[in-house]
């Protein structure tokens, strides 16, 4: 069995704007694959091309071995899709939503009842079957949306910002469901701009301005800092300090984290003294300089900055 998703040179332009620029990657069956990037990085456009909602300007997307642009209907049968927008019928009850989506996927009779019952249990909606979807709390609606999108037992699940606007507990519960499905062999592609969520993914592709700037497991991506270290610097005037440190010898990227700075350095021992001296010279004496374990955010910023040239929206 080949890869669940195989994208090669995928490109999508809107007029002169290139939303997705020559993206290539593969996702293996049963994998949880994350597309990570800020708003406007092109993640949703990739997903929309994968499920046949949009045609690529160039390149090819094969889903479950089928060319999406050529045979979208065939792809759709094996696909579940859920968006950041709550894409259920709010004026229908939980049961009516499940009946409808089941019907749309061609289920009926006992098969439909069995799957609907399974979905209610999976989403933890027992006893709420006759509640209007509109009245459900965000996290519940989201689980219902997920349940509706997997009624037909898809082998691939495409999730576009699935946990937007949901409380942390619901979010954790949602990820438990995702991981359970992945364990059952369902391939999952999820977009997110939350770095915490990316940690749930086996592999991630970092997207910036339409391009994949890095791809690998979280651990692999963090290895860019191998042989280097990240220092967290707190000082009274961080903006001034940032400008100063960017020109300092032996210092890599400098990026603000709240009112602190993360500074990538090759030799943490020597850099610490240099930074202290440089800042003290301008009366901006650092309160603390600590070596920290680089987070995914550091990794992300590193890749975006080294990808250079083209600015994202955020």
């Amino acid at each position: 069995m080949g890869p669940a998703i195989r994208i090669q040179g995928l490109t999508r332009r809107f007029g002169s704007f290139t939303a997705v620029d020559d993206v290539s990657f593969e996702v293996q069956p049963g994998e949880v694959f994350g597309l990570l990037g800020s708003n406007g990085a092109g993640k949703s456009t990739v997903i929309r091309m994968l499920c046949g909602l949009m045609r690529p300007t160039a390149g090819e997307a094969r889903v479950l071995g089928v060319d999406v642009a050529a045979r979208p209907e065939e792809v759709k049968r094996g696909l579940g899709y859920m968006t950041q927008r709550f894409s259920l019928y709010e004026d229908l009850t939980v049961r009516q939503n499940l009946t409808f989506f089941g019907g749309v996927y061609g289920l009926r009779g006992p098969a439909l009842r069995e799957r609907a019952g399974w979905a209610v249990a999976m989403a933890g909606l027992e006893g709420r079957e006759d509640a209007l979807a509109r009245g459900l709390p965000g996290g519940w609606r989201q689980r219902l949306a997920l349940a509706c999108s997997v009624l037909h037992r898809p082998r691939l699940l495409l999730l576009d910002e699935p946990t937007g606007g949901v409380d942390p507990i619901s979010r954790r519960r949602f990820w438990e469901l995702i991981e359970r499905m992945a364990a059952e062999g369902v391939t999952i592609l999820v977009t997110t701009h939350s770095l915490d969520e990316a940690e749930h993914c086996g592999r991630i592709a970092l997207m910036h301005a339409g391009r994949v700037v890095a791809l690998g497991s979280v651990a692999e991506l963090k290895e860019v800092f191998a042989g280097r270290a990240v220092l967290e610097v707190s000082c009274p005037r961080w903006l001034e300090a940032m400008r100063r440190l960017e020109t300092l010898e032996g210092v890599g990227e400098v990026s603000p984290f709240g009112d602190r700075l993360h500074v990538v350095v090759a030799d943490p021992g020597r850099a610490r003294g240099r930074i202290e001296a440089a800042l003290a010279a301008s009366g901006n004496v650092p309160m603390a300089i600590e070596r920290i374990v680089p987070s995914l955010e550091d990794v992300f910023i590193h890749y975006v900055e080294t990808a250079g040239g083209r600015g994202g929206e955020t």
Partner: protein, 372 residues
């Protein structure tokens, strides 16, 4: 098929959940029937009539009496010779002036054609043409009443000669005439709006995207969307017909099956138009405006519902050939009023079938065309 059914059941449930839309689809037709039935009454009564009788004869008094004895005219003034007729109408003291020349009775007795003049205040063209119709009918009757007295004379031209431009049957109650037009207009409006709004609502809420990702085919989506609104619109037709019968004694004289067929074909065209409207609209308010505009205006103004097509300027008359309601009206008037079937109206029916096919075809083409 079961996918179509799933969509149909879902849309019906949504419609039932939304009392406003149900009210709009079922209640508004009845309301409109009441409104138009009572307010759009073309019958005119108690028109103020001034009479200038220069003949002063028994025959002229008979003619005046025949006008005043009908409920349509009331005597406003008897004018002497040389009265200022213009001021009279300008001051709105009379809507109509009947002028009987001195020679009237002499001409009648001599068997010559007697001419009388009716001056109408044309500021309200609709009323004027109706009044003209009444006058013409009264003149006919007057002619008939003269005939026995002149027996022996061979078949001849009417003695009192009217040549009205608009023929109007004084027995016709205008509600009889209005009901078919009303059905055409209401069905067009509700069918176009309900489908357009239901599709655009899905676009707005993002559920359309969800549907497009499922294995639902466009044809199934269209059929599923149409079925419930077809059913609701047919129910609305039944409501209008029942209300028309109870309130205005409008009885369908022709076969119901034929009426049903015409309504069905007309509705399919209207639903297709609604789908088309939805494909060019991005918001419910836009769909509402576009839908109301392109469905309501032609169905009211260019169908012959209110304004007779023959009295329109030639260019506008040409446009009416593109309005399905025009053909619908001709057939349905035939079925309801004359008791005819579809058969005599096959060219009109053919147009409705072609229109339905075209609308569905366009809607299908628009919906299957994904973003390129």
């Amino acid at each position: 098929m079961r996918r179509i059914w799933a969509v149909a059941v879902k849309d019906l449930r949504q419609a039932a959940r939304d009392p406003f839309s149900l009210l709009m689809l079922l209640g508004i037709p009845t309301f409109m029937l009441l409104l138009y039935g009572y307010a759009l009454n073309f019958d005119v009564r108690h028109v103020r009539l001034a009479v200038q009788d220069l003949s002063h004869s028994a025959a002229s008094r008979d003619l005046v009496a025949s006008f005043l004895n009908s409920t349509h005219f009331d005597l406003a003034a008897a004018l002497p010779a040389g009265a200022d007729l213009e001021t009279l109408t300008e001051r709105r003291q009379a809507k109509a002036i009947l002028v009987i020349p001195e020679s009237f009775s002499g001409d009648l007795e001599a068997g010559r054609r007697a001419v009388v003049q009716l001056i109408l205040d044309g500021t309200d063209a609709g009323t004027a043409s109706t009044v003209l119709g009444y006058a013409s009918a009264l003149a006919d009757r007057f002619n008939a009443s003269l005939a026995p007295g002149l027996a022996g004379t061979e078949p001849r031209e009417p003695l009192v000669d009217y040549r009205p431009r608009v023929w109007f049957n004084p027995e016709l109650e205008s509600t009889q005439f209005i009901v078919p037009g009303l059905i055409g207009f209401i069905l067009m409006l509700t069918a176009v709006l309900s489908t357009a709004l239901s599709v655009v609502r899905e676009k707005e809420r993002g559920t359309m995207e969800q549907l497009l990702v499922t294995s639902l085919r466009p044809g199934e989506l269209i059929a599923g969307k149409m079925l419930p609104y077809l059913a609701i619109s047919l129910a609305a037709t039944a409501v209008i017909l029942a209300a028309a019968r109870l309130l205005f004694d409008v009885v369908v004289k022709g076969p119901y099956l034929h009426l049903f067929l015409v309504v069905l074909v007309y509705l399919i065209g209207a639903l297709g138009l609604g789908l088309l409207v939805s494909s060019v609209s991005h918001s419910q308010s836009m769909a509402f405006q576009v839908g109301a505009l392109i469905s309501m205006l032609p169905a009211i103004f260019l169908s012959g519902f209110i304004f007779p097509i023959r009295s329109m300027p030639a260019a506008l008359q040409a446009v009416t050939y593109l309005v399905p309601a025009r053909y619908f009206l001709v057939i349905v008037r035939g079925i309801i009023l004359k008791g005819a079937g579809i058969a005599p109206y096959w060219p009109d029916m053919l147009f409705l079938v072609a229109n339905a096919a075209l609308m569905m075809g366009l809607a299908w083409a628009r919906l299957t065309r994904r973003e390129a």
